[in-house]
Amino acid sequence: MGAIEKKILGHLKEKGYTFYAGVPCSMLGSLIDTITSDKSVTYIPAVRENAALGVASGAYLAGKGACVLMQNSGVGNVVNALTSFNLIYKIPVLFIISWRGFKGKDAPEHIIMGEKTIPLLKELGVPHRVLSNRYKEDIDWALGVMKKKRIPASLILPKGLLE
């Protein structure tokens, strides 16, 4: 567990984000470990990305700040939940999406989604930003958009940012 993961979680907690659900990715491993070892937050392992989104949405209905962690391969699994639930019921959930297949350099199963992740989010009308070293600003931007528009926003995690 590196320092940056703790800082990301710390900032999210400060903003009221204490409920997490997700499907793991090797790139998210250290962040998920940081979340599960922090007793002041909840992490719900989900069997599928849309179930993670559903659980997080239920937590939002109960007044919690909720976040979904998943690999970009999961974007395909949440399309219907986004278009016929979160975007129309105005249920803002924060996505943290790891970016496999970035610039075509990865295992074959990640190449197409690696290229399509951002166009797909754009097409769906889900605001997104690639997480950078200035992750506090990125998180604040996402939470700001979510508050204003009451829809989910995505932070895309590139390779190498986490330790």
Binding site: A51, A52, G54, V55, G58, K90
Partner: protein
């Protein structure tokens, strides 16, 4: 038993403070006729299958009892969520499947629910209570018993595939449904 009979029986054992979620299709449309008598209803108009996971997220974050009126089609669509409910075991969650063996709102095409025992599946997934009822008397008695116990509980209700019941459309906008439930739960804190 028709789905409206089952919903009438269920709603007579729901308390004012309980939250009721209803799945896509006729189940939500029929539950909407209860809107004036029981405001704490959440009607899902799309995302078939998703609602049981929403129920889990809600149940883990409130002490209120959360009922879901699921359908056999929507339950089968996201069976994996039952494993999550059994794993996290929220004691305030009651998962009811209204099983008419058909996709009613799309014209009554058959589901494949006949070849699966949903109550056994729920028991295997570690729900604390799991039962199946075929007639109204058994449902009335069984429901009262199960509602008093600690969950998560699963109830499968075998229904006729009745296509004839007329129900109105849900007149609330989706975001109004969200606001309504969030405001009801806000008062809790």
């Amino acid at each position: 038993m028709r789905s409206i009979d089952a919903i009438d029986i269920i709603m007579s054992s729901v308390k004012k403070t309980d939250i009721v979620l209803s799945t896509t299709g006729y189940i939500s449309r029929y539950l909407f006729s209860y809107e004036k008598r029981h405001r704490a209803n959440f009607y899902m108009i799309g995302s078939m299958g998703l609602l049981s996971s929403v129920e889990l997220g809600l149940a883990l974050n409130t002490r209120r009892k959360i009922f879901i009126l699921d359908g056999d089609g929507s339950c089968l669509m996201d069976l994996g969520t039952m494993a999550m409910i059994g794993y996290h075991k929220p004691s305030n969650l009651i998962h009811i499947v209204l099983d008419n063996g058909a996709y009613q709102s799309t014209g009554g095409q058959g589901t494949i629910t006949d070849s699966i025992n949903l109550a056994s599946l729920a028991a295997s997934a570690n729900y604390k209570e799991a039962a199946s009822f075929n007639d109204m008397d058994a449902l009335k008695k069984g429901l009262g018993r199960i509602v008093r116990k600690k969950g998560p509980s699963f109830i499968r209700i075998k229904l006729k595939n009745d296509k004839t019941v007329e129900t109105g459309r849900i007149s609330l906008e989706p975001d109004e449904i969200t606001d309504k439930i969030r405001n009801i739960l806000k008062d809790e804190k």
